[in-house]
């Protein structure tokens, strides 16, 4: 009798494991845009690094718009025509988009790589930071559909005293000192100058040089002074002391002390984990917490990084992308014990070994209450070089089966996922407010794409827009706990994550078959604890900090 029960249990578990709610995407008409790299016969490293994209509701109409960065001529680094313009596309709400770049004044200059969105002046309108090669730009949203370049006035235009003009690849907005104002962390890559660019080749053809040929640099932290200006505090905060080849950043409270921390993926160097000490300084603790290296035993070419709670234990975990043959590391947050790498144990290693991942995200794509993993992929080498055929790659999706186990469901996710490309950026958000997370992605010298989530599930969902009053207006850093009749989930407000990209500031929860959230708890950065009871599912809920 006992063995019969055991057998039944095994069958039920096996069924649960195999019967995943499906995840499906389809290519949806996207605005006409090509990420230009300034293609040249000789290869310059920035040409393989661009492609940042953001989903941002810049006009507060409740619809996510798309901002995408662009390259420039090489080696001149000049946007000498509209083909190199950064672009802002307004979401018309009917599946179409209007190019509003010119009116908005965000065409930009120079060779841009990444983007980060945050309302740094708490006026209720999303501002945009653009990271570029030797030149960054801060756009202030004028709340009338236009932006003003305030880089110089804000104090963000100065070259580094030691390294000169830095090459930034991405950034994160976070309120590291919890003063109610968003500060800015900028990820810097390497010392680079077109005049001293080494010449490299692969298989007898010109190609990009390995990162080893370049010198690393520190990242930058800028404190928001509250008057439209910023002060660089990198050295005083303990950030500048860590030299890296930064690729991406995820801001999250990893050690659950209420202060936002920073995880930075580095290219061919150990990852950095900056733990916020709560006094304006950070302590680098990647080794101590077990995230500097992967179980492969070496440094990896860290690419994109995303931090959310994969196993619904209230702790924010880390999903990183890396180069072909390096796997895409998954670090499970164990709290006081640091992190445990579960890349092999979770089932992510095998499929990800064959990919070079860039931007990535941890989102519940089938609304079943478990967050899945998505990574865009494409080889780092030149598409016209000796590796030509293997440079474009398909993207990859891992469905979360629970118990920290994932299944590669890419091949079942639709024809859109079978398409190869030299993918780089990816921003995640619900473009059509149907409760399913869509993906906007970029390809080098390829078109902008929108992967519309059409997963056929009866599952419920909740999308939460936080409005801070004492905390920063976006509520970035707020930890949210959702309790349903038989489940508890956690997520946090953030636009940072992925590679060079910026995602929906709204927080998404898939609720499975549960149509009611019994308790919605918000832990605001200000320290305010807010509880809402009996919240109906399937809505975009705006929550104002009391």
């Amino acid at each position: 009798m006992r063995s019969l029960w055991l057998l039944l249990a095994v069958v039920l578990i096996a069924r649960a494991a195999t019967e995943l709610d499906p995840i499906r995407f389809e290519d949806s008409p996207a605005p006409r845009f090509v990420t230009r790299t300034g293609r040249t016969a000789r290869k310059f490293l920035p040409q393989t690094m661009g492609g940042g994209v953001a989903v941002v509701d810049y006009n507060n109409d409740g619809l996510l718009d798309i901002f995408v960065v662009n390259g420039a001529t090489m080696p001149g680094l000049v946007k000498d025509g509209p083909q190199y313009s950064d672009r802002l596309f307004r979401n018309n709400g009917d599946g179409t988009y209007t190019d509003v770049t010119e009116k908005a004044g965000v065409a930009g200059q120079g060779f841009n790589i990444g983007v980060a969105v945050g309302d740094y002046d708490n006026d209720g309108y999303a501002d945009i930071f653009v990271a570029g090669v030797g030149h960054n730009t801060l756009y202030h949203n004028n709340s009338d559909g236009t932006f003003t370049d305030v880089t110089e006035r804000a104090g963000l235009g100065h070259p580094d005293p030691q390294y000169g003009k830095l090459w930034a690849v991405g950034a994160a907005w976070l309120d590291y000192d919890r003063d109610g104002l968003l500060d800015l962390f900028v990820v810097n890559y390497v010392v680079w100058d077109p005049k001293t660019e080494p010449v490299c080749e692969k298989g007898g053809l010109p190609d990009f040089c390995y990162p080893r040929a370049y010198t690393g640099v520190p990242n930058s932290l800028f404190h928001n002074n509250g008057d439209g200006t910023f002060t660089e505090v990198s050295a005083a905060a303990g950030i500048r002391q860590s030299i890296g080849k930064g690729m991406a950043v995820a801001a999250a409270d990893f050690d659950e002390d209420g202060w936002p921390d920073l995880f930075v993926s580095n290219d061919t160097l150990p990852n950095s984990l900056f733990l916020n000490q709560g006094n304006g300084t950070f302590k680098e603790a990647a080794i101590e917490k077990g995230v500097a290296f992967t179980e492969n035993g070496a440094t990896i070419s860290g690419m994109g990084v995303s931090a959310r709670d994969i196993d619904n234990d209230g702790r924010l975990d880390i999903f990183e992308t890396a180069l072909l043959n390096e796997t895409m590391p998954v670090f499970r947050n164990l709290g006081r014990l640091g992190f445990e790498e579960i890349t092999f144990a979770s089932g992510v290693a095998h499929s990800s070994l064959a990919k070079t991942g860039w931007s990535n995200g941890i989102y519940d794509f089938n609304d079943d209450g478990r967050k899945d993993l998505f990574a865009v992929c494409g080889h780092v080498m030149d598409a016209e070089g000796s590796l030509r055929a293997s440079v474009p790659q398909t993207n990859i999706i891992f469905a979360n089966r629970g118990q920290e186990k994932f299944t590669d469901v890419t091949t079942e996710a639709g024809a859109a996922l079978a398409r190869r490309g030299v993918h780089r950026g990816a921003a995640f958000g619900d473009l059509d407010n149907d409760g399913r997370i869509d993906v906007v992605l970029t390809e080098l010298d390829g078109p902008l794409r929108i992967l519309r989530n059409v997963s056929p599930t009866p599952n419920h969902w909740l999308l939460i827009r936080t409005i801070g009053t004492k905390s920063n207006r976006d509520g970035i850093g707020t930890l949210i706990r959702v309790v349903t009749e038989d489940d508890v989930q956690y997520n946090a407000v953030s636009t940072s994550g992925g590679y060079a990209s910026s995602s929906d500031v709204r927080v998404h929860f898939g609720l499975g078959r549960r149509a009611l959230v019994q308790e919605l708890e918000l832990f605001w950065p200000s320290g305010t604890h807010q509880v809402l009871k009996n919240v109906k599912a399937d809505q975009v809920l705006t929550v104002r900090e009391p």
Partner: protein, 406 residues
Amino acid sequence: MKFHSALALTVACLAATDLPSRALPARSIQNEQSDREGSKSRLRQVLEHDPNNKEALFGLGRLLVEEGDFVSARSVFEKYVSISPAEPGAWAYLVRCAASQDDPRGTAEAQSQIERLAPANLSLHVQSACWLADSKISEVTSREFEFVMSLARYQTSNGGVWYSRLGQCYENVQDRNWATRAFEAAIDLDPATEGHYFRLAHLLASEGMAGPASKVMTRAVARFPRSVATRVEAGRIELEAGNPERALEIQYQAAALDPQFPGVLSLLGRIQLTQRSYPEAIATLEQAAKLAPGDAAVHFYAGQASMKTEQGTERAIEHFKRSLELDPNRASTYYWLGSLYFHRSHEYRVAIQYLEQAVGRGPELGAAHQMLIQAYKRLGEDEKAAGQLRRYQEIIRQRAKVEAPK
């Protein structure tokens, strides 16, 4: 003059036997230490009776240098040159002592004496340049290096080995440009030695210079068309450079020359490993192990392939353990064993045993330090975890000092 030659030979022998002490079993180290103490004691006795005995002074100074006691060694060699100022070998040791004490003036003085006394002594100048390689005295280092390079035009093919050694010294301190120049000089002088090409190609490949590394091996293959070893090496370089397809082409050529050459199968296994054909890689590497039962690397790679298969943990452990039996000094093998016990079976105590060995043999293995810290934490031994973290931080601090711009 005979004595000069003997001293130069001593220096050369020292260079050739400059093995890290950790490579020796503990018993041999103890024997060596007690032999050294005995030798020092005997030399000191000689000097008590005859304070100006040149041979005793030289021998004692050399032993003190070996022990890293550069302050004492310097005073011994200073006494030596006060008695016999025309001995370039003693000046070479003074270069080493002064450089180790960050004394630019003393180093420059000693270096100029060697240049004056033995302008054509290649071995002595190479040793001096090697000793200067990791010093912070850039001006003297540069001068000595260029002096050695200027001697190349007077050398025969025998000089190749010295330039190869010079290249290794600068490769060890990660000065790629100088190491490349030295290896190229070795090839120019002695194009009939395969090893010179291998060294240059490995250096370039390890620095991400895949194209130039490939070109060096193409030259080698053209020069040694019947050499299987050269083709295997060329395949390895292509693999390191991230070109498994090209490596496979070369492997086929090598196999056509001699399919039973152990390196041929081993290379194929490594290519299959890179191409994620794990079962095939395991089969090939296990076959290679039969051909070369003493090759620790074959078992190492078989272990790597095994651990990437679903049920391969036990087999991987077996291979790694066999690899350790054959080569107990490879830090990364201890690391992988530690990693398997840590991640797969959660046997943290066993993992710690291997990881301690890994960090002892390869202090630069950051991943091993990280895992060791985590293993102690999992066992609730927080103080040990903190101690391990401090050890690692000290290593990083020391490395930063060494790598600081000269």
